[in-house]
């Protein structure tokens, strides 16, 4: 069976500044991976590489059997639109769109029609039914994160990348949020890579990886303004 993620000798640097150097790392389909590490340890850069937002500089990066290092920028955009669902830390919704419009936004780039059954199922599971016509800015932080999850899952991606989506939630909500996320990802057989420095939630994941154990690049964290 094809691995969801397969990395060989992946290196990435901003100028002279080596951020990532991953010799070997892979994730099986359907795994829920918790990736933890300190700020500036290269977590976000890795996620951007996995999402195909940053182009691969050297080494091999295979996602769902496709080699991202061989793809053009346009192919990467198409690949991401089709396969990758992304959940940001915060501020990740378009403020002037309604809940429904936000959730259905990714389909616009896929040129496909919204699957209304899936939409109903997602908002039901994520307890968003009463809010679908509301503006997202009227929602609480927890509700907004659930909208972001629904949006990420709406196109039924094979891979969900999450960048500290729970940092704004309190512990009880975090656990509930993750259980909802996992429940739906299990239904869709989606692989999840979840990045956080908050290790109190790691027990909920099927696999826990410290980024320092796979990344051999050492650099001084820089404050980027």
């Amino acid at each position: 069976m094809t691995e969801a993620i397969a990395i060989k000798n992946l290196k990435f640097a901003y100028g002279e500044n080596q951020i990532l150097n991953i010799a070997d790392f892979s994730v099986q389909p359907g795994e829920f991976v918790f990736l933890h590490g300190a700020s500036g340890s290269g977590k976000s850069t890795l996620l951007e590489l996995l999402a195909g937002v940053l182009p691969t500089q050297s080494g091999q990066l295979q996602i769902l059997g496709e080699a991202l290092q061989d793809k053009s920028a346009h192919q990467l955009d198409l690949f991401r639109a089709k396969n990758v669902g992304y959940i940001f830390q915060s501020f990740n919704l378009i403020p002037y769109l309604s809940v429904t419009e936000n959730i259905q936004l990714p389909l616009m780039f896929l040129k496909s029609k919204p699957d209304l059954q899936l939409f109903q199922h997602l908002i039901k599971s994520l307890e968003l039914q009463p809010y679908v016509q509301r503006k997202v800015t009227d929602l609480s932080v927890g509700q907004q994160q659930r909208v972001a999850v629904a949006r990420a899952l709406m196109k039924q991606p094979k891979l969900i990348l999450a960048d500290e989506p729970t940092s704004a939630l309190d512990y009880d909500h975090r656990e509930k949020f993750l259980q909802l996320l996992f429940q739906i990802c299990r239904e869709q057989k989606t692989t999840v890579v979840f990045v956080s420095h908050d290790r109190t939630i790691e027990k909920l994941f099927s696999r826990v990886v410290g980024i320092s154990t796979i990344n051999s690049a050492h650099h001084q964290p820089q404050v980027i303004v």
Partner: protein, 424 residues
């Protein structure tokens, strides 16, 4: 491409920046309205100018400049240096190729308006614009010596109605004359409808009346009391006109016009000049062309300012929207789609601006057309949207889209550089 969703996204994004969007649309709209209004007024001025008179093939006066004849006969500007004898007039009038004539005898005025002595053929034949005739708002043509028909501006400015008494000032068209024919007042018997031409700014009396008021004058000065000839004793024989200032002429066949013009210019018994009014009028308009160019240049600069304000508005918005762009990118928007989004926004902005500009233009014309016509003689002719206006609209949309490639590319590059890590 799913246009509905894209337009929805752009529209809501624009709505989210309501103030900047409104101001941008407003400034673009105003610049387009200005550009189109200047064009429309220019066209109105040109046609009003060149069509002050129509259906007249030749204007004949004593030999002087061709421009001068047109100016004093059509625009009531300036004076004739010499007259045409009634014999020459009658001779030319009775030539077989002539369809009709309108004699004009000028020289007197009334409170700043010119008094034109003519005959009833004026009401029958005079045409302006595309074959419009002089019409009466009230009353009728003069039929006795001391009847006067007044133009609409005269009626309005001096508040005259039918039955008002008018004293004609001698030799003056500016203000109150020094000498007045106050012994022989005229009675208003007709008021003309507004035409938007010089006709509105004149008073019309019969040629005989012109003779009558000067009957007792000697060597250009008013008679003393004992020499005055009373109105009551004037007979038809006494007031047969001896000269006129100029006359309009229509030939039966246009082909005859040039031949007749040559005949008149070679007229043996007195020096005459015949001019084709259309030719002189368009020559005159062309000499005013530089003013027209300056107006046009200013309008184009205003349009440029409108486009610049749009550019500035989009450029400034980009910085606030980096996060938005990053989200769209990660949801799968390609760089080309980001560029398209900016172009689509520009298109929507411009389309709204153009739509509003057209509405505003039509509304302005609707409100101001009667006023422009009666006050300034500018008759806004159809069509409201000629080829020039359509060109301006497309020019505006085209340049707006072309200019918005700049912010579009900027959005692309910053989206590429920012990746997903915009910290706002």
């Amino acid at each position: 491409m799913n246009w509905g969703a894209w337009i929805n996204l752009s529209w809501k994004s624009l709505k989210n920046r309501r103030l900047a969007t409104t101001l941008t649309v407003f400034s673009m709209m105003l610049s387009l309205v200005l550009l189109m209004s200047v064009e429309r007024v220019r066209r109105a001025a040109e046609s009003g100018f060149t069509q002050s008179i129509s259906g007249v093939d030749l204007i004949v006066g004593a030999r002087s400049g061709s421009l001068q004849i047109v100016l004093y006969s059509v625009f009531n500007l300036g004076q004739a240096t010499n007259n045409v004898s009634i014999e020459s007039y009658n001779d030319l009038k009775s030539r077989p190729e002539v369809e009709w004539t309108i004699p004009y005898s000028l020289g007197d005025g009334h409170k700043g308006f010119r008094v034109v002595a003519t005959n009833t053929d004026f009401f029958k034949y005079y045409q302006f614009r595309s074959k419009e005739k002089v019409e009466f708002a009230a009353g009728q043509a003069f039929n006795s010596y001391f009847d006067v028909v007044i133009g609409s501006d005269v009626a309005e400015a001096l508040n005259y109605q039918l039955g008002s008494l008018v004293e004609v000032a001698h030799g003056s068209t500016k203000g109150d004359g020094i000498q007045s024919h106050n012994d022989k007042p005229f009675t208003v018997v007709g008021v003309l409808k507004p035409t938007g031409t010089q006709i509105d700014r004149a008073l019309y009396i019969s040629l005989e009346a012109m003779e009558a008021i000067h009957l007792d004058w000697q060597t250009g000065s008013a008679p003393t009391l004992e020499n005055q000839i009373a109105k009551e004793i004037i007979t038809a024989d006494m007031v047969q006109p001896k000269t006129i200032t100029s006359f309009f002429l229509r030939t039966k066949n246009r082909i005859e016009t040039l031949k007749l013009q040559r005949t008149i210019n070679d007229y043996k018994s007195e020096p005459l000049l015949a001019v084709i009014p259309g030719v002189v009028l368009s020559e005159l308009w062309q000499s005013l062309g530089s003013l027209e160019k300056i107006l046009k240049a200013i309008s184009f600069l205003v349009m440029l300012v409108g486009l610049m304000s749009m550019l500035i508005a989009i450029m400034t918005s980009l910085n606030e929207r980096r996060r938005e762009m990053a989200i769209l990118r990660v949801l799968g928007a390609s760089l080309v789609q980001i560029l398209n989004l900016i172009l689509l926004e520009t298109f929507i902005l411009t389309a709204i601006a153009v739509g509003l500009a057209c509405l505003m233009k039509v509304a302005l014309e609707w409100v101001f057309a009667p006023w422009l016509q009666t006050k300034y003689g500018l008759y806004l002719q159809r069509p409201s949207f000629a080829a020039t206006e359509i060109t301006y609209i497309f020019l505006m949309m085209g340049s707006a889209l072309a200019i918005s490639v700049i912010p579009g590319i900027r959005a692309m590059t910053s989206a590429l550089k920012d990746g997903l890590s915009v910290k706002t």
